[in-house]
Symmetry: C2
Subunit: 291 residues, 2 copies
């Protein structure tokens, strides 16, 4: 599909992409650009790419497609570095979890001869680094594309085909809508999981050990979510601030109402609420997001 | 281990117990008492017990061991019904998720000739009813016993052996300590999951469908937790009110601090917090609560 494809950043997502691209034969050669020399060495050792270099400008030369797979806060400086070296007709895309701020960071530095197709595969694990990736990560997962008004439809179609070939279901929407949907399905759950696990660490020492010991049934799920990459998540919250604060405000209102119901022993309110949420789960199981 | 064992309530936990007890040959006969005639019929059809009846007083007659497996709010009236029919030397135990209120509900009605061993297996799924159970539910899970000061150690040892035979790791602590530990590891996570899933259902219709569609990565875990039995969870919050409100207060303080960090773009605070919580997960994986 591509002659030379370059991955910038070879963490969990980049290394999963490298594996999936190779497995499906979607690029003649894969080049990795990563400022961490250990990551480059590891990637070559794992056979993830033909070339790996810490020189990002060199990495993108002659590439038909460049995929940025680094934390969102690095985009602006990365694009400034690579922009002069992107060949005409190159498709630039990414895997960032927020899209409006990504577009704002990339657009000012982008040559007119390059097509930008912002993308977000909704997939991941709590592990990080080049050894954490695996080819099946995107299989049966959604990948959301948020093309700009002036993105040529041929470029969007090509990135859509790329993700489709790796087993993803592709959906196209605006960057603004993406950021709202993800604020509730992903960003708020992560914020809450990070909070509650942190709250637990401030308990009296005698309780703390037992919280870990008896973590089954609820808390354990939160600790998995709260083990996700700290830098990536810092960047997500800083770059989807408005949507996250909006949904957080609604959440806090609801939590306060349930807190009041508990304090006043209002069992009817609790039971009604809990019955209602059970129906949502049914919708998700039917939508086949869960086995 | 027991000649006649009676299960009061044949939902997820009761029906899992019946299966595990049979598999391990821990009772000569199993009798089910459940006020729902459909549950009794289903249980007999599934071969979960030798006898099943909606008459709880009849169900416990001549039993060596009675295990209450119903929502906590039903305990007081159940014990009033069965107490006159419990034979001398019978061990009464339960599976309730809170322990102080359970003891308060049971003790006033208990004959002196019956030994009470409050118990809580930390295991469950989001499914309910007699068909939802399975024998392996308690395997490699904790079961916490909170015997009273005057509970004979022989009775506690027997219930400990019963759970051990079903594959559980048994721990003994006070009811007060149990309720504090579970408030953080289980009750608060459930309350938060219930809240956030409810918050999502109040979104604009256009967003709601997509929240279900793109529920992977965070939200999906919450919906599973928030699909747990509504009556059981109503009773847990009403009966562990103080410990839940205490930990909820601490959680809200921390959430407010992170909200402020997001609003002010304070990336250092976020990154520090997220790095810290990652270490907790490591502790849990090492404690082998997760594969």
């Amino acid at each position: 599909m591509f002659s030379k494809l370059t991955l910038i950043g070879i963490g969990l997502i980049g290394s999963s992409l490298a594996r999936a691209l190779k497995e499906q034969g979607l690029a003649t050669t894969i080049t990795i650009g990563d400022i961490n020399p250990d990551h480059c060495a590891k990637a070559l050792e794992l056979g993830l790419a033909e070339y790996a270099t810490t020189d990002l400008a060199a990495a993108v030369k002659q590439a038909d497609c460049v995929i940025i797979c680094t934390p969102v806060s690095t985009y602006s400086s990365i694009v400034q570095t690579i922009a002069p070296h992107l060949k005409a007709g190159c498709i630039l895309t990414d895997v960032g979890s927020v899209k409006q701020q990504v577009i704002e960071a990339v657009l000012p530095h982008l040559p007119e001869t390059v097509d930008f197709v912002p993308a977000h595969p909704i997939a991941g694990t709590e592990h990080s680094g080049p050894t954490a990736g695996f080819a099946a990560l995107f299989h049966n997962r959604w990948c959301i594309l948020t093309p700009l008004e002036n993105t040529p439809s041929a470029a969007t179609a090509k990135i859509q085909a790329l993700w489709g070939a790796m087993g993803s279901n592709v959906e196209i929407m605006t960057a603004e809508h993406h950021d709202k949907v993800l604020a509730i399905t992903s960003h708020l759950p992560h914020l809450i999981a990070y909070t509650i696990v942190g709250t637990a660490t401030e308990l009296e020492t005698s309780l703390q050990a037992e919280v870990i010991k008896f973590s089954a049934s609820g808390f354990r799920d939160f600790t998995r979510i709260a083990a996700s990459d700290p830098i990536m998540w810092r960047d997500i919250f800083l770059n989807n601030r408005e949507a996250v604060l909006d949904i957080l405000g609604r959440f806090t209102e609801d939590l306060t109402a349930l807190q009041k119901a508990i304090r006043h022993g209002d069992g009817d309110t609790l039971q009604q609420w809990f019955t209602h949420t059970r129906a949502i789960r049914k919708g998700i199981v039917e939508a086949k997001q869960e086995g």
